[in-house]
Symmetry: D2
Subunit: 357 residues, 4 copies
């Protein structure tokens, strides 16, 4: 089967099987006999490397197969039954997970996502708005008949590809701490956020994230792994009987070492950072070229998702040679579309795309 | 990391990463760019091959990552909200899935599993008992306050490694048809059942299973794949909006082609049968040797699970050289344990084990 | 025990046990022996009278004990598992029911509630916005990963005490019909809406509501009954095995005739209308007096809920003599509060309140 | 409407509206204005009287409308999400509540109900079997993939009308304490159990029950109230945010005082005991007459449920003059049926029934 398209492919960052190193490492496990359900040496080794990278010796790490699954299990097990999770209205858990959170009985409590000075969407949860919401909730005497806010969900990068600064995370942390509500960071594309932090001292590093959140996950699926996400509980707060609850959700992988091996590789020799850096570097080239050519950006994103507004005829013409993804309708003659680079994007692809643009 | 034990390993059939052909095929997808969520060519190809192997052109196939997940999603989506699933009391869904079925709101309605003429457990659901249960349910005028039986769950091989004959399946089918209740077959170890059917005309083939059930799954995880199970809806009965419901359960794999590639390989060139046959052949050698040495079998199983009763001192001594799994306590001085062969068991391992026994 | 307060009580419309006729009718059942679970003659009789009042011979009626319970069971049983319910953001099901809808696994999909020409909140769902939302949902190719809109929820009167016109209901109906989505009307305070319709030909009557919705409920608890709500499925669309699902929700009353007797009384000799009319008449007197005295209304409501903005010192002084309910903080010196009349409000209470104001 | 049958009625103990004192007390609340949701003086007063009757000053009391609802909410809120409730296989929660427990995500873990020396069913949970089950559960190293036993459910009287002795309760308590599992007693018919305890020092009193269980409920619906059950948490163990969770289940009654008034009456002047005593006294007369006439009892029950085995022709003839309830088919020519006395059964009804027998 030849599924290699003639077209350039900028649809998403999970279109390739895995980075060669990952494939190699998995192949090398042939012949091993490992205990099941994540109780193997690879998971233990990978967890240790993640703890080290987070500079968080007490972190508890659990590996999942995918992002929605991770969000569902983490949120359902951290929340108490009468609680909901607070999210920006554009949050993945509230919009694109087919109601996986509500399926577990919990409400997603939404606040408007932020916009930048120009009015462009950023999709971040602002500490000030979160604080106002929480104060308002507890000020109203009638809240016994309402869903209690029991967790705060953010994604980093956000759905729009934007990033929280360390200061913003600290402010969120402070609000959460004041209300004793855990802060959860969805890091489906964390490698790309961390690569940006390499160049910008105002952005949080992995230790910053471990310090400022109660739980987060290190995305593998969209960052070079074959599949897998590593949930990291940073405060000794892994929910009681976590493995049983994972099993109850149908989310326990029999051959847990498959995730362990991959994360062991990703956190060896700086591979995770390297993969993130490739996407950011190629995105930067593409962004510069687009700006030069006068493309209009819907969002000012520093990461690997470039959301631009195209005139519809232009869009159709481009679509003959490049695959990208629909973002949203702007008006009758314009559409926002997303170009996504990844850990695997090559410079020659960027060259060709720039030519076409 | 060296996780290869000096000890012989007969704990289970999912201790190795995957058959070399599977690893090779996955590695060969490097460089491809596939659409996500199972909408790729590999899944389509694999589904086609499964349809052909089932001799069931209308079969609808959906790929999952694991067995509990498959059971949970299939049962929850096929059942109506006021229905429960009927199972033998030893059924995997009722005992070893941490309540994953109840988590989705459904009761597991249990009937006693069968025993053979000698009184040894078989764990099968008998058509006569099922019929009596269903007749009794509807005879009692008060059933409006009870959970309606809405599906029948069997596993083949069962938890005890036993097999349904074609005649038994036909009888179950007839009862189910009479009450318009779908029959679901959990084929986590289906390769091993099919290998037995090669030698025994009384056992069901894959087309028999497709014909006699409404939905079943072809197990990959325990049968040589890296991971993955193929749910097969045989009667045009895939639940409406199935993909959305899969997503809602957190069970949708972003890189669906990973399962597609594996099942494409398993159903090419008779690989699935071949892997099953290896386990059965090595189990047969082991069983014969054990019988010769006077080992007492708890269950008369024709498949790759050998459950024997050991005197506790004997068990401890064996455990120094072989890893096997605890089955159940028999009395203060005896324990039942399970030896499991697999697609990957080598004859030299059997030789060494027979020596030790 | 004397729980009669010296203070005037305008907190809500469910502070009294029941209208004397209801109490009398319940007392008269002493000595009867009725079958349980709503299978009695009183429920049958009451259902018949409701069908007649709705001019809807095919209507199926089921009695519940309370409003949240009714909303929870109706919405959960009408929705398919992958669907959510669309509601104005101020809808009771999304805000004041402690997540009872999400508890059953369904998302509440919110649209902004309407405002009148002056910008005052009305809390209605606008047909145009509903249509735009539904068109947008199906236009976006990615909706397979989203919660499907499976029902539209409105309340009449709304949370703000406002009313849908017949024309507005017809427009909503048309949109719902176009997308084959059932329209559900929460009539917790329906008596008060119907009383307004007596005087205003633009407002829907009970037959209008039965014609334009797929299911609605006739509120008893807030309209003179001791307790009880009558869910009315108007299109032969009562969910399959409804009684079993009610039982499954813990919502089946053993002595169902208690609700039957009450609704039989409410729908005899025009009692339900009469009770509604008393609340509307007394509210009208109060509203006129308030307007005359220059009170500022947060909402222009024609029903029995009067929401006014008070200067905080004024509010505290009033609170010494009158009980009313907190609505929302307006600013640091002003608060919106609600005065509520009911089926039982006497003219002398209104006189005294007007004196105090 | 005349629903009074010519036939004698021994179908159940919830066929009449309420004892006259209850009706009177409810009627006397006319004119009162009470705060909603159980935050009224009547509920407080009733709770105080129940605490006194239990000799348990720290008991926390919450009033519900019905039994299935009480079981569902108590079990769901006491259990942790990964836990199930242990019950005899004949327990009401496992059989006749339409899966209300599973609906909330929890498994009912069943053990065989007890039988007396003659082999007749008693439906009790035996401490020895419970202990063996719990020891076995924790002995098996694999229990992480199983549902944890998190609560023990018993009913008193049981489904068969039998009673636990104080000693049996103490033994259960000891096992539960050893495993730190709460013991829950369903007292839907508690008045009848307590009436028996008046005459038998081996049976538990209300203070015994409060002492030996962690939570239980005092049944109202089947014991003379119009409706209502009083859940009593005896160890300072009412679940956190209980009111919110009740609301979330749709189980919060707006006019909570309706239950408060009734339980205030039931626990004034010994009414609850008196009502229980009437049923027991009339049951005793009926039982003696039946034994004298040679009726065969399926169960040896001391309470108000008399389960006898009738030859089918005899049953049909009786059914012309008396209403009773079907219990179970015994064989092709015999059926077990139940005659139920109640708080309201009159001696003249017993006289007439004895004549007919």
């Amino acid at each position: 089967m030849d599924t290699r398209s003639e077209k350039l492919f900028f649809v998403n960052d999970y279109c390739e099987t895995a980075h060669p190193e990952i494939l190699k490492r998995i192949s090398e496990t042939a012949g091993e006999k490992n205990p099941g359900y994540g109780l193997d040496g690879w998971c233990a080794s990978a967890a240790g490397k993640i703890r080290a990278a987070c500079d968080c010796p007490r972190a508890e790490v659990y590996f999942f197969a995918g992002g929605t699954q991770t969000n569902q299990v983490v949120i359902d097990t951290v929340l108490r039954p009468f609680e909901g999770v607070v999210s920006a209205d554009s949050g993945h858990v509230g919009v694109h997970e087919a109601g996986a959170i509500e399926y577990t009985g919990h409400k997603v409590l939404t606040l408007p996502g932020s916009r930048d000075a120009s009015g462009a969407p950023e999709g971040k949860l602002r500490a000030a708005e979160l604080k106002a919401f929480l104060e308002g909730f507890y000020a109203d005497g009638n809240h016994e008949h309402m869903v209690f806010p029991g967790m705060v969900y953010i994604s980093h990068p956000t759905e729009y590809g934007t990033l929280y600064t360390t200061k913003e995370l600290e402010e969120l942390r402070e609000v959460c701490a004041g209300f004793e509500i855990p802060l959860y960071l969805d890091g489906a594309r964390l490698a790309y956020a961390l690569a940006c932090a390499e160049d910008d001292p105002g952005l949080p590093t992995l230790p910053d994230i471990a310090r400022l959140t109660d739980v987060f996950y290190v995305g593998g699926t969209k960052c070079g792994a074959m599949f897998g996400e590593a949930a990291v509980f940073t405060k000794g707060n892994m929910p009681f009987r976590f493995a049983t609850r994972v099993k109850q959700h149908g989310a326990m992988l029999a051959k847990g070492w498959l995730t362990g091996v991959q994360f062991d590789a990703l956190f060896s020799d700086g591979l995770y950072c390297e993969l993130g850096a490739n996407a950011i570097r190629t995105a930067k080239r593409l962004r510069a070229a687009m700006k030069e050519k006068g493309y209009r950006f819907l969002v000012e994103s520093p990461t690997n998702q470039l959301i631009v507004v195209l005139e519809n005829r232009k869009m159709k013409k481009l679509a003959e040679k490049v695959e990208f993804s629909f973002w949203e309708k702007i008006d009758d003659t314009h559409t926002a579309v997303r170009f996504c680079t990844s850990w695997g994007t090559g410079d020659e692809e960027i060259d060709r795309l720039i030519d076409i643009l």
